[in-house]
Each structure stands twice: as C-alpha cells, then as structure tokens.
Symmetry: C2
C-alpha cells in the first residue's frame, strides 16, 4: 500500500454562509479521525491550525491520552492518537509527510460539493499501488475546505454520495467513509 496521510484543516475553511473562516479544534475530531486513521493504516494525521493557542490546546488533549492516564484507560486509543501531529500550515504537514515517506505526497482535495473529479476506484488503485507516490487527504472542518485548497491539490476527489442528493456528513463520518473506500477490506 502507498503511504497514506490525513491533514485535518481548520483554515481556510467555509462557514455556513460560505465565508472563509478559521474553525476551532475539536477534541472529538482528533479522537474519531485518529481511530479511523489507525484502522485504515494511515501513517500520520496532521492537525493543521494557524493559531498557536489552538495548537497548544490540541497538544494538551494529546498529552492527556498519550501519557499515563490514557495509557492505562485504553491503549488502543493511545495507539491511534500517536499518529497525530499538530502543525501550523499545510506546508508543514507536507514537509513532515515527505520526511516519513521519502517522497512528496500527492495532495487530494475532498469536499461534499466536488463532482467530475477522481473516482474512489481510481484513487483506491493509487493507494494500492506499490510504485506510486504517497497520498495526503485534506479534510475540511467547519462547512468544508475553501475552494482555493482545491486549486492547490493534485486530485479532486468526488463527494461521497448516498442514494439521493443529501450528503451533509460530519467530518468524522466522512473521514471514516473516505478511508474505508480507499483502504478498507
């Protein structure tokens, strides 16, 4: 399998009115998405936030679970949270992933509004190629990634869809579903 990475982006994202904002880090996003990341063999999950106080909050949450209490409470949760790194911007996430994978990751934009891009079958075959580049999935918090992040990406991944047009998934559910489609058994 190709090296797989996740970047959870808090800026630039949209709010419900379509304006570009910085969202707050949510403790449960870290837990849920780290557990999905660990389940699907992701190498590292980068929590991307431009504000130092928010990054410190994330590090406090992680320390709580990585150190004594969390280790005793649930070692599987620690194992998941060990994948998480907190960085200032996407460049730092890409640089860190490149250090791990020894190659520059293919950057993938995900959005509930994307269509006409790459299908899950196409990207799944890249994930299962041994010769291909590492892959980094960008996941947007708030009401989704700012469209400008799509212009920076190498691949626009089609939105997850159910039987009809409604697809207002939480980022926690979407992360799990996208990873399952790409790397599930």
């Amino acid at each position: 399998m190709a090296d797989l990475f996740v970047a959870l982006i808090h800026y630039p994202v949209l709010n419900r009115n379509g304006r570009i904002v910085t969202s707050a880090i949510t403790s449960l996003d870290l837990h849920d998405i780290a557990r999905s990341a660990r389940t699907y063999g992701v190498r590292a999950m980068y929590v991307v936030h431009p504000v130092a106080e928010q990054r410190e909050f994330a590090l406090r949450v992680l320390d709580h679970w990585r150190l004594d209490y969390g280790r005793l409470y649930d070692s599987r949760r620690r194992e998941a949270l060990d994948l998480v790194e907190v960085v200032e911007d996407l460049e730092a996430a890409l640089k860190a992933a490149e250090m791990v994978a020894q190659a520059c990751p293919l950057l993938v934009y995900t959005s509930a509004r994307a269509s006409g891009g790459a299908s899950y079958e196409e990207l799944r075959s890249k994930v299962h190629s041994t010769a291909g580049p590492p892959i980094m999935l960008m996941l947007g918090t708030g009401f989704g990634l700012a469209p400008a992040m799509g212009e920076r990406a190498d691949v626009i991944l089609d939105a997850v869809r159910g039987p009809d047009e409604y697809n207002h998934l939480s980022v926690r559910a979407a992360a799990g579903i996208i990873l399952d489609r790409l790397a599930g058994r």
Copy 2:
C-alpha cells in the same frame, strides 16, 4: 431499496472491561449518526435508552435543533435530526419501525469483534432488494453491543476491517462506514 432503520443502543453495552453497562447519551452521536442516516436514505433512527432522564436529555437536544434556532442555523441538520426517535427499549424501536415499513424488520447485530457472519455484499444485496424485509441495524455505544444482543439478531454482520487487525472505530465513524457499504453509491 428496502426500508432501512438504525437503532443506537445504550443498554446492554460493554464497558472497557467487558462488563455490561448502560452508557450515557452523547449529543454528538445523535448529530453525526442522524446526518449519516439521512445521507444514506435511512427511514428512522431510534435512540434506545432505558433511563427516562436520559431520554428527556435527548429530546431536549432534538428540540433545540428542530425548533426555531436549529431551523434558522442549518436546515440540513434539522432534516437529519427529524429522523430521530427516542425509545425505551429495542422492542419499542422494532414496533415503531414495523409501523413505518408495514413489516417486521430483519434485525442486524454489528460489532467490531464479529466474524464469520454475513458479509457486506450479502447484506447490501438485501438492502437493494425490493421484495425483501425492512432492515434494522443495531449499533452499540460504549465498547460495543453486549453479546446477548447477537443472540436476538437475525443477522450478525462482519466487523469493518482495514488493512490490519486494528479496528477501534468510534460508533460515529462505524455508523457512517457501515451505511456507506450497504447503501452508498
């Protein structure tokens, strides 16, 4: 598509030591799983809790989003939460689903520890059959459904798996992934 239902079970479930307990209702479970349910065409989601105060808490959360504030804030979230009903036990959920679907649902047990049961392909073909019975997925909170719930079920669904043996997904992620495997496009 067959009528699809979800029951989010808070008793009997396991704690981290494998003891049978009653878990607390979590506001975010209602939101995330309702949004996934709506995305995948689920007819109703039953929040099952034996304690009246906990059911009242869930109803307060739902009212907040169903009435004026939530309606203004995000109509798609209201549309998802409109699927949620709060009931005392599994029998009440089955009875309510039978009223909606006009037939007794096939009861499906889900667990991160299940294997050798029905595959996703098998259950997906039942979901997409027009002649088959309605289907109700039981999802366990805490550390998963008590094994006794498996004995009551008609179908044991295999655990969701990634590339290796680790599969410690949150119930919010697992709900989305299972629904996607059964009803995703």
